[in-house]
């Protein structure tokens, strides 16, 4: 800190996964050494903590202190390159994970956009060089957010393909839950990290239990 004061500790609000909680614990020990046990929030499997610490080390966020070798559990680490509040999204080899960026960009664009938008416009405005967004992906995301009640339809779509008109949507003011993007999960559910809960999941019936799906 420029003024020599110890900064107050802040953490992300809303829901947090195990990696985020490990990252929070690491940041609480800025300037100090720690081992795997120190940064385990308690309810996170040891393997998860070890994997994430290893990934962060390979990505250059952490550095191992002292001699290499010996069991992982004994090794000590130090925060070398802080990345802020949000747990860095890195793979085991230290490379960044781009999964989820497209949804984040679409959500950011929807929140920033005044007026209504269709899938094509959303794809063009949300796409970046690192994470391009196709009109198909934008259609999917809009449809999912609409199902979960985030959007109002301002103009119904009709037809398909050439000559079809794409539906137009607008984000409800009260559904602007926060900066973190509601994620459409693989299991056909939508999780809002701002609220820390599932806001929509595919309806299930007893037949799914009997016949499977």
């Amino acid at each position: 800190m420029a003024h020599g004061r110890k900064p107050a500790h802040i953490e992300l609000s809303g829901g947090k996964g195990p990696r985020q909680r490990v990252w929070d614990a690491i940041r609480r020990r800025r300037g100090a050494e720690f081992d795997l046990l120190d940064v385990n929030p308690g309810d996170v499997p040891r393997d998860t903590v070890r994997d994430y610490v290893l990934s962060l080390t390979r990505a250059g966020h952490l550095e191992a202190v002292g001699a290499c070798g010996g069991p992982h559990d004994r090794r000590r680490y130090r925060l070398a390159n802080d990345a802020g509040l949000e747990a860095p999204r890195v793979r085991r080899d230290g490379t960044p994970v781009t999964q989820g960026l497209a949804q984040e960009q679409m959500w950011r664009t929807l929140r920033r956009h005044t007026g209504d938008i269709n899938a094509r416009e959303l794809a063009a405005h949300a796409g970046t060089s690192a994470a391009p967004v196709s009109p198909v992906a934008a259609t999917d995301y809009l449809r999912n957010l609409h199902t979960a009640g985030y959007l109002v339809v301002t103009a119904e779509g009709r037809g398909a393909g050439r000559g079809g008109v794409a539906a137009r949507y607008r984000l409800r003011a009260e559904s602007n839950t926060g900066a973190r993007a509601p994620m459409v999960c693989r299991s056909r559910a939508i999780y809002d990290p701002n609220l820390g809960r599932i806001v929509w999941h595919e309806p299930v019936t007893e037949e799914d239990a009997i016949y499977g799906r």
Binding site: G14, A83, L85, A124, H125, P132, A179, R180
Partner: protein, 248 residues
């Protein structure tokens, strides 16, 4: 569903807004060829000239924190809103919040984008606060406002002299219009004379081009056209931003 997805993949993609000339030119002016954003940058230009296109493209490319100022905001509101964008709900005094904002900007290395900065450029306190954020974080901050913003900021010499990049919003080009047509008027081939006319009457404003492309798209759908020229379009008025003329 999956099959259509695969078939459509790649064929139906649209060019990201960041590839428009008017956006790319501004981003290059701000970030330079090596891509490093300067400390304090100002983007200024008339309404409708794609400033928000640039802001959005930058926010998405750099995962920037974007806030749009309102005239009623005071210093604390601005800090709380920035923290909300960072995913933090925090309370405290203005100096405490300032520390939190600066700390996160510095460690995340993500830029801060403040739109409608004209609202800040009315009060000493707000301008000083943004300078504090900059001094404490030494991070990239982009301020966006109307054409007159650089002049307004001259009042604060210490602030003005810290701005490292001034970027003026760019007029819409014919190349841009072609890319926008694929977004706002898909499935219709627009003849060159009509496209040139759209850019001409837009007087630099990308917003007018988008509105008129939507107009063309609607008419082509109604009439079942898949191409259109200036002659075919005829006399139907375009949106030019002027107030409607008196009809007698």
């Amino acid at each position: 569903m999956t099959e259509t997805k695969i078939r459509n993949k790649g064929r139906d993609d649209v060019a990201p807004i960041a590839t428009l000339d008017l956006v790319a030119a501004v981003l290059e002016r701000l970030a330079g060829r090596n891509g490093a954003l300067p400390g304090l940058g100002v983007l200024h230009g008339p309404a409708g000239w794609g400033k928000s296109f640039c802001a959005n493209a930058l926010a998405n490319e750099r995962r920037g924190y974007y806030v749009r100022m309102l005239s009623a905001w005071r210093g604390k509101t601005l800090l709380v809103k920035i923290l909300e964008e960072m995913g933090v709900r925090a309370g405290g005094t203005v100096p405490q919040l300032l520390d939190l904002v600066a700390e996160q900007l510095r460690s995340s290395r993500r830029p801060l984008i403040i739109d409608e900065f004209d609202h800040c450029a009315k009060s000493d306190a707000m301008v000083e606060l943004v300078r504090d954020i900059y001094e404490a974080s030494q991070s990239a901050i982009l301020l966006i406002g109307e054409e007159g913003l650089p002049r307004k900021l001259e009042r604060w010499e210490r602030f003005h002299s810290r701005v490292l990049a001034w970027a003026a919003a760019q007029p819409v080009s014919e190349g841009d219009a072609a890319k926008l047509a694929a977004i706002y008027c898909p499935g219709v081939r627009i003849a060159e004379d009509l496209a040139a006319h759209l850019v001409d009457i837009a007087k630099g404003s990308v917003r007018r081009v988008c509105v008129n492309l939507t107009l063309i798209h609607e008419r082509c759908l109604t009439e079942g056209l898949d191409e259109i020229s200036a002659a075919r379009w005829g006399e139907q008025p375009f949106y030019t931003g002027k107030s409607p003329e008196r009809r007698v």
